[in-house]
Amino acid sequence: MIVFRNVSKVYNMGGEQVRALWNANIHIKQGEFVAVVGPSGSGKSTLMNIVGCLDVASSGQYLLDGIPIDRYSEKQLAIVRNKKIGFIFQNFNLIQTMTAEENVELPLIYQGIGKNERKARVREALQKVDLYERRAHTPGQLSGGQQQRVAIARAMASKPSLFLADEPTGNLDQATGAQIMNMFRELHKQGNTIVLITHDDNVAKQAERSIRIMDGIVTETREDRAGS
């Protein structure tokens, strides 16, 4: 499903090489719920960018669904992100000028899906996060938790093979955060693959297992932690 083989990302900063990620080997199977845990500056953002096809590795091999994502062009990466990855961000990243419905619809437009199917999928996704009644609201008219649910609906609508969540509860209060985490568990139960990036061990505990990252070095924690 997700396979990293000796993946490294090295930045050149003023002649000095910075190893943001070094020789990472990761295997994530389909249907797994995995947390990537590490403090800020540990390289987890770099890891997420590569997993999410927002960036390509300097060396090593990354296989997503068996497809090697090497030296992809911006266009090819965009297509992969569009079809295979559903992002959920810490700051929601909804387009402020668009309604909830339009935000959820956008990735489907980029996929070139016809209007009728688009509308049906948007409705289904918004109903699942219990926000269909608020579909005409813009992000500014929604609470943080509601915005994050719209973002989850946006990810769900494109039926991705991977949900990639970057500190999804970071900007939410505890009760709302718990609600969002429940949604991830629900998604997991339905058989979706989820990679959750967090600095918070309590959040990470809710995943099946954790991958730890520190100073660019990944240590895979094999033993399962019960998600519930």
């Binding site: 927002l54 266009k75 990243n93 980029y110 494109s158």
Partner: protein
């Protein structure tokens, strides 16, 4: 479908910043307005001047005797008529005299001429007939009057058969000319009457049948330049010097008008095109601001799978939409402006369709040209950097 979506997005983005969009469009609006109105007015004005010139006759050559000795006699005119390029010849003796009608009186120019003048000058008779050979042969006191003369001095148009007094002598009206355009009236005398030349020499003190002051010529197949050339040759021999006569080819007026029209259209169109260009720079400026402001949005769009070409298209369409809406508003304002000119100036100008089309093409060109750089900048953004932008 992506294009349609991009258009929808462009509209909502323009709508969400109404004032800014309007100010940006203003450059294009003013540019299109200037282009269309100026060029339409120039072509309208020169068009009506040209048709007025056509009314007074463009296909003729006029020769004036400047010797004062009297060179043109009726016999000599018969000789000139034999020149190969000459079609018709008409002598003109003119005098200014007072007309007394039952209704009003006025000063008029009185032309003494022959029947040939009608076809040379292209005069159109509305009622009755023009001067004919028997009128000239018999020295009859008959007169053909212009439409304005009939209406003003006799109170109505069809006054054939009535009598008009020229300087106290009664003349029977045998014809009334067609009404000339308002502009032709401006460049001609208001009152004009035509009498047989044989009758005219009796009241004129500036010409006789052996000393005709002015002669009008028409050319075979309308070729006036051949007539001019032949006459210059012939008359130089006759007069002994080119200083002794004045020759004027009336068709030069219309070719000069054509040149003036072309030059004016180019000049004014050029100025308007520069203002359109300035409008385009305004669009580029605002699009660059918009791209920077919406860096996050671009990042989000890219993260959820917008290809660079889609981002490019979106911003390009936005720039084009701005300039095309500006263009449409400019065209509407131009139309209104020309209507106002028509009402105030009592003229009948209309929007020049080719210029309107040039305006549309030019504004979309400006939209693409000046939208391309900001759109490319947006499309080239790295999604990770754009997402982190605050």
């Amino acid at each position: 479908m992506i294009v349609f979506q991009s258009m929808k997005m462009a509209f909502s983005s323009i709508k969400s910043k109404k004032l800014r969009s309007f100010l940006t469009m203003l450059g294009i609006i003013i540019g299109v307005f200037a282009l269309v109105v100026l060029v339409s007015l120039v072509s309208g004005a020169t068009g009506s001047i040209k048709s007025a010139i056509d009314e007074i006759g463009t296909d003729m050559v006029i020769v004036d005797d400047e010797t004062g000795r009297g060179v043109f006699s009726m016999e000599y005119l018969d000789e000139l008529r034999e020149l190969p390029s000459v079609d018709q010849v008409a002598p003109v003796v003119y005098t200014v005299d007072r007309l007394y009608g039952p209704h009003e009186e006025g000063i008029s120019i009185v032309y003494g001429t022959t029947m040939e003048l009608m076809s040379i000058q292209g005069l159109k008779v509305e009622y009755g007939r023009f001067i004919m050979k028997p009128d000239v042969d018999n020295h009859t006191n008959v007169v053909v009057i212009s439409n304005a003369t009939a209406v003003d001095l006799l109170g109505r148009e069809n006054v054939v058969g009535e009598t008009l007094s020229i300087g106290g002598r009664p003349y029977r009206i045998i014809g009334v000319l067609k009404q000339s355009s308002a502009l032709a009236n401006l460049i001609m005398y208001k009152y004009q009457v035509y009498i047989p030349i044989t009758s005219a020499v009796r009241i004129s003190d500036s010409g006789s049948l052996s000393a005709i002051p002015e002669v009008c010529f028409s050319g075979v197949d309308g070729d006036t330049s051949a007539v001019q050339q032949e006459l210059e040759e012939e008359l130089t021999n006759k007069f002994g010097s080119t200083e002794e006569f004045y020759i004027f080819n009336q068709s030069e007026i219309s070719s000069a008008m054509d040149k003036i029209t072309a030059a004016l259209s180019l000049l004014l169109g050029g100025i308007a095109a520069i203002s359109l260009l300035v409008g385009g720079i305004g669009i580029m400026n605002i699009m660059l601001v918009s791209v920077t402001e919406r860096t996050r949005e671009i990042g989000i769009r890219k993260a959820i799978g917008a290809r660079p070409s889609i981002i490019l298209l979106q911003f390009l369409i936005e720039a084009m939409t701005l300039s095309l809406i500006g263009c449409i508003i400019g065209l509407i304002l131009s139309w209104l402006g020309i209507q106002v000119v028509n009402i105030i100036g009592n003229v009948d100008f209309s929007i020049s369709i080719p210029v309107a089309m040039v305006a549309v093409i030019f504004s979309s060109g400006v939209g693409i040209l000046f939208g391309l750089y900001p759109a490319k900048k947006a499309a080239a953004m790295k999604p990770i950097d754009a997402l982190r932008y605050n």
